[in-house]
């Protein structure tokens, strides 16, 4: 949107019609010679060539445009943009994602559980506007992928870069929660949340899941647990990131529903089963509504002056007029 610093000066534009009248319609004006055609015989003054008439037309238009540009520039035009400034602190959310090979199970279309989870998480991140989001991945071990941040671009980039089996074949649920807690310890957010996505039983890591849950509960971190997968045998296919070999097979995977439930009750979170991509999506919608708070927002208007562009255009147009009339047509006055 264009705004003006001193809109009063736009009143100067009112001078234009007068000048236009004087220049183009007032036949008693100076700097031109008027004479009657009847005195002259017809063919003495040949009609100006098209190119000449065109150049003259261009110079006239350029002159008036230059004048308009100057009159607008003097009023101080600027482009203003609205920016929403959040006045309250949002949540700190750490997404803890299982990277074990069973996440490659193909019961979640179109690819597998892992890719579906990444897609749903991306949408979830896209819906945030004031919460800090971080990501922890876990296999045999757990590691921070992104610290909690509001730089959603980086979060999405790192989410896209995540691969299965980068940290071995195990499922260290306790480590995942513990690492998330370590990175929430300096957080000044009122609501600290961990969202754990897994499809297997805890079978690795030095910290048992319930101890980790206890730490989380003491820190006031709520843990939402999501168990993904259908029951029974499912085909898997994945690439081993260290060797590059394709691993194919069938697995019978089952998450430990009791454990996930207990973790969530200990930390005042909630357990959600997700048996299909659709249900995983609705889980995140549920979490959205559970964690929504009143947002206090102020709208800031940022302005960027653009008078310089107008002045430059005016200068170029004036010089164009000058070049056509004084250099090409050699107008003496």
């Amino acid at each position: 949107m264009i705004t003006f610093d001193s809109p009063v000066l736009l009143i100067l534009l009112a001078v234009l019609p007068t000048l236009l009248y004087l220049n183009h319609l007032w036949n008693k004006r100076g700097a031109h010679i008027s004479f009657s055609f009847t005195i002259w015989q017809k063919e003495v003054l040949s009609k100006a060539r098209f190119i000449e008439r065109f150049a003259l037309f261009v110079s006239t238009v350029a002159f008036w445009c230059a004048l308009i540009a100057l009159l607008i520039a003097v009023a101080g035009p600027s482009i203003s943009e609205k920016e929403r400034i959040h006045l309250n602190r949002g949540h700190d959310i750490l997404l803890v994602l299982d990277e074990s090979p069973s996440m490659a199970a193909q019961d979640f279309s179109p690819v597998n559980r892992f890719e579906t989870a990444k897609g749903v998480l991306k949408d979830f991140v896209g819906r945030r506007n004031n919460d800090s989001i971080g990501i922890v991945g876990f296999g045999n071990q757990a590691a921070l992928r992104v610290p909690p941040t509001r730089d959603y671009q980086t979060v999405n980039d790192r989410l896209g870069e995540m691969k299965l089996m980068e940290m071995g074949q195990g499922t260290a649920i306790g480590m995942g929660i513990a690492v998330a807690c370590v990175h929430l310890q300096h957080s000044r957010a009122q609501n600290k949340i961990v969202i754990l996505i897994t499809d297997g039983e805890n079978n690795a890591g030095e910290i048992p899941p319930l101890s980790a849950a206890k730490i989380a509960a003491e820190m006031g971190v709520r843990v939402y647990t999501i168990g993904v997968g259908t029951h029974g045998e499912v085909p898997i296919e994945l690439e081993d990131p260290t060797t590059g070999n394709i691993i194919r097979g069938k697995i019978e995977s089952q998450y430990d529903e009791e454990l996930l439930k207990e973790i969530s009750t200990m930390t005042e979170g909630k357990f959600f089963p997700a048996t299909s991509p659709g249900s995983l999506e609705s889980v995140f919608n549920d979490i959205d509504s559970l964690e929504s708070v009143q947002q206090r927002v102020r709208v800031d208007i940022k302005t960027e002056p653009i008078h310089r562009e107008f002045i430059l255009v005016a200068l170029v147009l004036l010089l164009l007029t000058f070049a056509i009339r004084k250099i090409i047509f050699r107008e003496v006055l």
Binding site: D5, S6, L9, L12, V15, L19, L22, N23, W26, K28, R29, G30, A31, L67, L70, L71, A73, V74, G76, E83, R84, I85, H86, L87, D92, N129, N130, S132, G134, L144, V146, P147, P148, T149, R150, D151, Q153, T154, V155, V182, H183, Q185, H186, S187, R188, E304, P305, R308, I311, L312, A314, L315, L318, L319, F322, K326, R330, E331, V332, L333
Partner: protein
């Protein structure tokens, strides 16, 4: 102070414009001579001269003031802007091989990481982020409150993180500028650590973007102007194609410029300075730093004069001179 001093070059345009006007006057005089000066033609010629003089003079005057308006004369003490108290600080760290030089002990890069670590321990009210750059910039740690992640990341800094060769300070700074989260009221500060040996990129573009986004860039020049060899491993130094040892020197001139033009400070991390001096220089503990003067550009008056002159030049030309004939 001029915002766009380069616009003054446009003044040179006035010379050819004036020359053309003068030539056209001569042509006009020649035409009059052909008509030959009996009474009315002589007086007509005087009118022509007067009109020519005033319209040309005011046209040139108008151009002159349009160019003045373009220079962007600044008036410093116009409005005060209170800056938000909370800060987002992004460290933009040069990790090119020249940062391995040992002209300051143990090496430029290690001194940098020590300094960044002590900045954490002194002021923890801010959020921090880390951008590393060589030929391109990369957001290594996005802006976060999570000091653990920052500390870990800083310990792993090394030139082998990227394979790209050259150093592009502009790319590094632009990556840092884009890494600030929007939609919050926080001060945006970049602290650039580099030895200034940039092989590509221009600083003018960077400072303009910084101004628009209200980002302050503090620059820490790492190294000495005497320079030092670049140590690749214990007994190997970087040599050029002829086998000569490459000496890398701190190049403070462009760095100082970036800091000055974005309202930041420049300081040097070399053997002489102490840490507390550096902190003072980076104004991380100063009081009263939360207010700054907004620079108001003065151009409207110039433009008004230019428009008035253009009107006069225009009117002198078309309003007829009565009573001559």
């Amino acid at each position: 102070m001029l915002l766009h001093p380069e616009s003054l070059w446009l003044l040179l345009l006035l010379l050819p414009v004036g020359a053309v006007l003068l030539r056209n006057y001569r042509m006009g005089r020649k035409e009059f001579k052909r008509v030959k000066g009996s009474g009315p033609a002589k007086r007509l010629f005087d009118v022509f001269t007067i009109k020519w003089f005033f319209t040309s003079f005011f046209f040139l005057l108008s151009l002159l003031f349009i160019i003045f308006a373009l220079t962007g004369l600044k008036d410093k003490r116009e409005t005060l802007e209170e800056l938000p108290a909370d800060k987002d600080v992004i460290f933009a760290v040069d990790i090119s091989r020249s940062m391995l030089s040992r002209d300051i002990q143990p090496s430029r890069l290690e001194r940098t990481t020590t300094l960044i670590n002590s900045i954490f321990s002194r002021s923890n009210s801010a959020r921090y982020g880390l951008v590393v750059f060589k030929g391109e910039g990369y957001v290594y740690v996005p802006v976060t409150e999570d000091l653990e992640a920052m500390k870990k990341a800083i310990d792993t800094l090394s030139p082998s993180m990227f394979s790209s060769g050259s150093t592009n300070i502009q790319a590094g700074l632009e990556t840092a500028f884009n890494a600030f989260p929007s939609g919050e009221e926080r001060r945006k500060i970049v602290i650039l650590f580099t030895d200034g040996e940039s092989h590509s990129g221009s600083s003018a573009a960077v400072t303009t973007t910084a101004g628009k986004k209200q980002i302050t860039v503090n620059v820490v020049g790492v190294g000495t102007t005497q320079g030092g060899e670049i140590t690749l491993s214990e007994d190997r130094t970087l040599r050029n194609q002829d086998g000569e040892v490459v000496i890398s020197r701190l190049n403070p001139v462009p760095l100082r410029k970036i800091a000055e033009e974005t309202g930041g400070t420049y300081c040097q991390l070399d053997e002489v300075g102490s840490l507390s001096e550096l902190f003072e220089c980076l104004s991380l503990q100063q009081k009263g730093e939360n207010i700054r003067f907004l620079e108001q550009e003065r151009y409207q008056l110039f433009l008004l004069v230019a428009i008035a002159a253009l009107f006069i030049s225009f009117l002198v030309r078309i309003i007829p001179w009565r009573g001559t004939y």
